[in-house]
């Protein structure tokens, strides 16, 4: 299921690449000029980093719950911790609770140093396909 993001047009637009190690996915958004939101600094657009986090969470939930056609977020909260420099961004998600109807997911994005995340995501996903 790690090829999920290759099927999603917006993930392709962002150039996302997925690597799988055991059950954990690491998704990379390679730097591209079109990701720049602040040309003066320059810095990545926060929305691009948020989208990376959200799609990483989608892919991680999908890989553990293949019965879901496409996991749907109920809500997402993104905290921007550091400026995204014009460089590759990596992200990883962890499912902290998988209930019958709802899953809670945490994800972080970083550049060179995983211990210095540039953004963090908290999200709830709907686990019942016919709900909502």
């Amino acid at each position: 299921m790690s090829d999920l993001l290759e099927r999603l047009p917006y993930a392709r637009f962002l150039g996302l690449e997925t690597a799988t190690e055991g059950e954990t996915l690491t998704v990379t958004m390679p730097f591209a000029q079109k990701l720049i939101g602040n040309p003066i600094l320059p810095a990545l657009h926060g929305g691009a980093t948020a989208a990376l986090l959200e799609l990483t969470a989608v892919a991680q939930v999908a890989s553990l719950y293949p019965r879901l056609r496409l996991p749907r977020p109920i809500n997402v909260t993104v905290a921007y911790l550091r400026t995204g420099r014009p460089a590759d961004v990596h992200a990883r998600a962890r499912i902290s609770k998988a209930g019958r109807r709802v899953a809670h997911v945490l994800a972080e994005a970083w550049q060179d140093d995983e211990s210095q995340p540039i953004a963090a995501l908290t999200a709830h996903f709907l686990m019942a396909e016919d709900d909502h």
Binding site: Y10, G37, G46, A48, I74, V76, T77
Partner: protein
């Protein structure tokens, strides 16, 4: 609000490389509310089976329109940074349709701007997604900042 901030809103809405690549378009201002549009495009779709724009794109749209609302509340452009952003996805968006986002900065303090925003196809009364966000203001002085806004409860940030 000065006319100058209104004059540069189209540039602020779509002028950076990312917003340009996404095709964002400035729509309108009504008082302290601002709207931008994300025209539907095949390569921005999140679910190829339904043709709905990606949730990640909606997040970017809401983040960006919120920034515009902050500059309108400030009455000028200055560097700001999103502190955090919460998006509730209220319903599935309609396939192959543009999305409009509207935002309003409902409180400014010396260092933080608080914003609410909505994304919809036709009316903010029927939103696809709703956002609540906070932005850091980076100006040092801050004197006169939000002087045109009420501060009933004093500064909280």
């Amino acid at each position: 609000m000065t006319s100058s901030i209104l004059d540069i809103l189209p540039q602020l809405a779509a002028g950076a490389a990312h917003t340009h690549a996404l095709g964002f378009i400035y729509d309108s201002v009504d008082g302290d509310r601002v709207r931008i549009r994300a025209p539907w495009r095949e390569d921005l779709v999140g679910d190829p089976d339904t043709g709905v724009l990606s949730g990640g794109l909606v997040t970017t749209l809401l983040d960006h329109v919120g920034g515009l609302a902050v500059w309108i509340a400030l009455g000028r452009f200055e560097p700001i940074a999103t502190l955090d952003l919460r998006v509730d996805y209220m319903r599935a968006a309609a396939g192959r349709r543009d999305l409009i986002a509207e935002a309003r900065c409902y409180r400014l303090t010396r260092s933080i701007a608080f914003v609410r925003a909505w994304a919809f196809e036709d009316s903010p009364d029927d939103p696809v997604a709703a956002a609540q966000s906070a932005y850091m203001l980076t100006s040092d002085g801050g004197r006169g900042l939000g002087a045109n806004l009420k501060r009933e409860h004093g500064e909280r940030a």
